[in-house]
């Protein structure tokens, strides 16, 4: 078990180095002078020269990548061109809203989608099942920001149940914090819920056909217990996998959701960095996001062994 985790950590490190190399070299693969690309169309020659020195463009590529990589390992992601602050500081400042949003979204999505999928599989072929399937297709088709505006319009403006925009840090209290995260979480969760519900349904359908389920039913086990204890446990592996893989959707979606609901998180920082052509910040944010994504999936692989004792590494 420990050996497996170590091996997985090893391959994770390789993937992260590749991501780092990719993100770092993008600037140099792109056609044109990297300093001029960063500076943008409205820059003066002095700006370009300043950036050129900052990037250390007089050194060979390998040396630059090595220096940058060493810095990243020590938590130094470079300095922002626009704000002249360390990128790591800027990211840390923006971390709480994004992490809050993600955690609330994952909780809401899993608590909603898994029962939806279970119900759909249990009632397979009925109108309930078709309803859930149709909802899932809708969830896949309506883009995150469209869901965001519809929810904000309906529940924020027309019904005025929840605030339309903004973020309140956790230290201001649980309700003010949660209140502003509900609409964004449902927005961000729309695709995620569809994905989890669909996989739960598929995985449950397979398990429900097995003999031990019939045995449990014959023994008189209540339906609820059969579905959620006997069956769900054995259907869990694909569900847990997709919860992990779906985090990629959440990260992409967070960038947009935070723009729609004016949440000052990492997603906003990404958009701002791109519009200001602040490449060191873009680089840093992409690295942090990819790192978290890879780590979540490593965690998922470890969780397998807890969920399913048949899996041994």
């Amino acid at each position: 078990m420990l050996g497996y985790i170590l091996r997985r950590l090893g391959s994770t490190v390789i993937v992260l180095v590749l991501v780092g190399l990719f993100v770092f070299s993008l600037l140099y693969i792109a056609p044109g002078d990297p300093a001029a690309i960063i500076a943008g169309d409205t820059a003066t020659p002095q700006d370009v020269e300043h950036i050129r020195q900052n990037l250390g463009l007089d050194q060979p590529f390998v040396v630059r990548f090595g220096k940058w990589g060493l810095g990243v390992i020590q938590g130094d992601l470079g300095r922002s061109i626009y704000a002249n602050l360390p990128v790591s500081t800027m990211i840390l400042e923006r971390l709480q809203p994004t992490v809050s949003l993600m955690v609330v979204t994952v909780l809401i999505s899993v608590l909603l989608a898994v029962p939806m999928g279970v119900l759909s599989a249990w009632q397979a072929g009925t109108w309930t099942d078709r309803g859930v399937t149709a909802l899932a297709v809708l969830g896949f088709s309506v883009p995150v920001f469209v869901v965001g505006y519809v929810l904000a319009y309906a529940f924020g403006l027309k019904l005025a149940w929840l605030p339309v925009q903004g973020y309140a840090p956790l230290r201001e209290g649980l309700w003010p914090w949660l209140q502003r995260l509900i609409l964004p979480a449902f927005t961000l969760g729309s695709v995620y819920i569809a994905l989890i519900a669909r996989i739960t349904r598929a995985s449950m359908l397979e398990v429900l056909q097995q003999d031990y389920i019939r045995a449990a039913r014959a023994k008189g086990v209540p339906t609820i217990a059969i579905l959620f204890i006997h069956a769900l446990k054995n259907a869990a592996v694909p569900i847990v996998t997709v919860i992990g893989l779906g985090v990629a959707l959440l990260i992409g979606g967070a960038v947009i959701t935070e723009s729609v609901f004016a949440i000052p998180g990492l997603g906003r920082l990404t958009v701002d960095a791109i519009l200001r052509r602040d490449y060191p910040v873009t680089q840093g944010v992409v690295l942090v996001f990819s790192f978290s994504y890879v780590m979540v999936n490593l965690l998922v692989d470890v969780i397998y062994t807890l969920v399913d004792p048949r899996i041994r590494y």
Partner: protein
């Protein structure tokens, strides 16, 4: 035929045993895959709208009219006007061109690229490791984020948007193709072809590639849907289609400032975008059910 006393004779079964007339062609497709036909129909309609945009009562989608700003839908402006007085009906109709162009181009480009990479990876052991590690790296960057990063390095143009989204999608396709190739190359008919002296490139082209096309086509429709979403997102945050070309994403971006007072500027393009993506997904689900019956039963 006479009936003996005391026996009940069942009526002849004739009609029951006749084979029901098998239906062919379009009617059968409508019966089996009604949602897919609906999706295809909507897509066709949108394609017509995109092509015929100049003749559907539109004006120049870039023409400003400072007197008529942010007007609600009316007889003169069917969808109203945006914040600088451009006619929304015209902008939304012309916007269909961008979504469809980006969706189809990315689907074709990413599938072609993924097919080549997947074939090479599945057939040449020496390159497999390298290509797979590269896709590992690419796939650990969420696709929207990757496309955004690529766009931040280039000028905003439709061509660059297509290229950026294709790069972000190509890793997934090559994984899919490689998986299919790996199972196919162990099949007896491939051994037979090798034994008969068929050269490797010929085996790849004639015996392997045709069998990857079905899953590839299904994947391509999903990529098309996802590319349309990503294009809209890129344009929405200002890193996609340049503002001089109307696209549903940037019409929404421009309507954002006043969306609480003039929600139609955001909601009309949003509705078009959602219906288009829904249509593509319906076609994708239908294709999957038809081409991959094993998957259809479960998902």
């Amino acid at each position: 035929m006479e009936t003996p006393e005391g026996f009940a004779v069942a009526p002849p079964l004739g009609d029951l045993l006749l084979a029901s007339k098998p239906r062919h062609g379009f009617i059968r497709l409508v019966q089996r895959q009604p949602t897919m036909v609906l999706g295809a129909f909507v897509l066709l309609l949108l394609l017509l709208i995109a092509v015929l945009a100049p003749y559907l009562g539109t004006v120049d989608p870039l023409a400003l009219n400072p007197i008529a700003r942010a007007q609600p839908p009316s007889a003169e402006h069917w969808f109203g006007t945006d914040l600088i007085g451009r006619d929304l009906w015209s902008r939304v109709l012309y916007g269909a061109r961008i979504s469809l162009l980006v969706g189809f181009s990315v689907a074709i480009l990413a599938s072609a690229g993924g097919l080549v990479l997947g074939l090479v990876s599945g057939f040449i052991r020496a390159l497999d490791g390298i290509i797979m590690r590269m896709t590992d790296g690419l796939m650990s960057i969420p696709p929207i984020l990757l496309a955004i990063t690529l766009m931040s390095l280039t000028r905003a143009s439709v061509g660059n948007v297509i290229l950026a989204i294709s790069i972000a999608e190509v890793a997934r396709v090559s994984r899919l193709v490689r998986g299919v190739v790996l199972t196919l190359r162990e099949q007896a008919y491939v051994d037979a072809a090798t034994a008969a002296g068929t050269r490797r490139p010929m085996i790849m082209l004639r015996h392997i590639t045709p069998n990857t096309l079905a899953p590839l086509m299904v994947q391509a429709t999903y990529i098309c849907a996802s590319a349309m979403i990503v294009e809209a997102i890129l344009s929405f945050i200002g890193a996609g289609t340049p503002p001089t070309i109307p696209s549903w994403g940037n019409i929404m971006a421009e309507g954002r400032a006043l969306w609480q007072i003039k929600p139609f500027i955001v909601f009309i393009p949003a509705a078009f975008l959602s219906v288009t993506i829904l249509a593509v997904n319906l076609v994708g689900d239908g294709l999957r059910d038809m081409l991959d019956p094993r998957m259809a039963k479960t998902i």
